[in-house]
Symmetry: C2
Subunit: 394 residues, 2 copies
């Protein structure tokens, strides 16, 4: 038996989170695409059946009160809160990430106040953040300034209203320095918006500790909420009273059933709502979040780093030198929970990998992307993935 | 046996749509709140089970292609299209109604072009439309002018950019003159946005026929899509190329997986998308729409009018004169699919009605609201509701 296989056995045997895998519906496939769509938590199907048949089918309209539908966005936000280092009452769930980026960025410009007319946006961002930032700039009379995260401390000035950054780069898996960049933005007197899509549920974020102003994130990656499950919006408590949403729907009114013609925003996280929330997706997410009960995010982070370390080791051991090149930083402080490999013909390579039971994804033009979800990926999976990758490339 | 009971029997016996009730999960309750949350179509639970267990649980990420998740927003839009008189390719499903009102209204102002800086909004609107219109006006440099639908032909001028109207008033059930008001807005050179929340699935709308520019609507009322199911957006084909969305998310990009930094909007209905759609809610809606197969909307309208006529008759027969007063117009051309009764102490009356198996809803300060969904409400239900109402009031 080869050395990596033995190592994997030892690592799995010592893995304190190994038992969590049983809380998911999985098969023999090595699923390394949880950074795109998380696997199905085993509690979800029965919950959805109850939501559909009993809550909707029998109780119908009464469920808005009796089944807790009305309060779900903040209740579920409070379940996400400890995973991203937020005290309760600051996160609301609903709408897509893109819509939440719009809310957060426009609100950030308004918080920054007069005389600041520039939005700095991560030049390496997942595209939707850039598109939405462009619209937010256009609609608030700002100019848009793209900058890499490393450049941010040098480009923020007294003109900067808001800075939109990604915590982990979707393509390379690079983890950016949230505490340092947040401090740099604040030093310039600007407001920071963090996109946590690729970090929420994968590593500690420390929103409150680091004084982050606003943040958004998706719930269908490391939080396993299901396809297109609603995103979340964090507004730091001290900013909530001044949070001025560009999407002031009736669900964010202080008295939504008062049907008043004048808008009066609710206090607290509720202010981040817009229209009627999509309850089916929302309650699937709530069931999915139960797997986190008693799971410390620090333990998740430790296992995530061990998994990506081990994957890079196995790739080095199995794959002929020069066939692939890691785009993911070696330093732990700069690594998210994925490994991106530059690989000629990556599109075809990923097809063959999937045919052979290893699911990652392909990002054009030539990147193989592998996500490692510590809740259900083990070290034997990692060894197997690297071994099959080597076979695919040879 | 009293006269209304006999009449109900005859009407039910002659009802060509009576068989559709079997396609819903219902019980002995008289459910007259389908204008708030439609009843559960019987096909939904099994479909959701398949979506959750097989599509998400087994196929996982592959379902974006293999289970048709990616194309769902337009495919489901095309199922709604015939119900609102739209040819295929003009409706996209996703986001909440409020978010779609924002997209439509900002896009309408941009379509109207330079020199027009006023948004006219229905002064009797469901509040969220007014709140969102205020935000759209603020962000496009327009002023907001409230006007009742009847006043619209007189207030639209060469300054008017866009007019936002409700097809059916949520409170009184009054149906507004969509063809006439659309023509009046067009005569002034402005763009019209119709909110179809209380008409889609209840009566013919004729979007194409009447040259409507933009429309939005919800799917959890007469379309029975489930709690908070995604809303829809209609953009008339001739306007699609100039539709300039304030929420240009990656899902509306011409090549979403190209991950290009510059936004290039897709052609067609896709342009109305924003972020990743909520697939669970979306596919529950798709299953729910199957009940419409072969059901002509004209037949639905004819039964709806017969139901509301009969309810008003029964109320007149059973309820002591002066105890309630209908706010819903007598003329068919001015009536939606609901009856609103002014009633002192309406909040308490509705509580007692619900305790006695008749579910409608209460709108402050003093309105009892009863919605009549022709797909599953019968004439015996109507008679019983009026009889129990009379008992509650005596």
């Amino acid at each position: 038996m080869s050395e990596p296989i033995l190592r994997a056995q030892k690592l799995d045997a010592a893995d304190e989170l190994a038992g969590l895998r049983a809380k998911f519906v999985l098969d023999e496939v090595v699923y390394l695409d949880g950074n795109s769509l998380g696997a199905l938590p085993a509690a979800v199907p029965a919950r959805m059946e109850d939501v559909v048949r009993r809550q909707w089918g029998s109780l119908r309209i009464r469920s808005w009160d009796e089944s807790g539908w009305w309060t779900a966005p903040e209740r579920i936000g409070d379940r996400i809160a400890p995973l991203v280092g937020a005290a309760p009452g600051q996160i609301v769930v609903g709408d897509s990430t893109s819509v939440n980026v719009f809310k957060a960025l426009v609100a950030a410009v308004r918080l920054a106040g007069e005389g600041r007319d520039e939005i700095v946006v991560d030049a390496t961002t997942f595209p939707t953040d850039g598109y939405i930032a462009e619209s937010a700039a256009r609609m608030t009379g700002c100019t848009l300034r793209p900058a890499t995260p490393a450049e941010v401390p040098d480009v923020v000035t007294g003109r900067t209203a808001a800075v939109l950054l990604n915590h982990v780069d979707y393509r390379t898996g690079r983890l950016h320095d949230l505490p340092g960049l947040t401090a740099a933005v604040h030093e310039a007197g600007a407001v920071v918006v963090w996109d946590l899509c690729h970090s929420a549920g994968a590593l500690p974020v420390g929103l409150d500790e680091h004084g982050v102003d606003l943040a958004v994130g998706c719930t269908y990656k490391y939080l396993n909420g299901g396809p297109g499950s609603p995103a979340f919006l964090y507004v730091r408590r001290e900013l909530q009273d001044r949070f001025d949403s560009p999407l002031p729907g009736w669900n964010s009114h202080t008295e939504p059933f008062g049907m008043r013609p004048a808008y009066e925003p609710a206090a607290g996280a509720v202010r981040g709502r817009v229209g009627t929330p999509d309850i089916l997706s929302m309650l699937a997410l709530e069931a999915a979040l139960e797997v986190w009960e008693g799971v410390p995010i620090d333990a998740v982070r430790a296992k995530s780093l061990a998994l990506t370390d081990f994957f890079l080791e196995c790739v080095a051991a199995y794959v002929p030198e020069g066939a692939v090149e890691s785009l993911t930083p070696v330093a732990h402080a700069e690594r998210g929970s994925q490994v991106a490999l530059h690989c000629p013909g990556a599109g075809d390579v990923m097809k063959r990998l999937i045919e052979n039971g290893v699911v990652g994804d392909f990002r054009p033009p030539d990147v193989l992307r592998f996500g490692f979800t510590p809740l259900y990926v083990g070290f034997a999976d990692v060894e197997r993935a690297a071994r099959i990758l080597a076979g695919t490339l040879s």
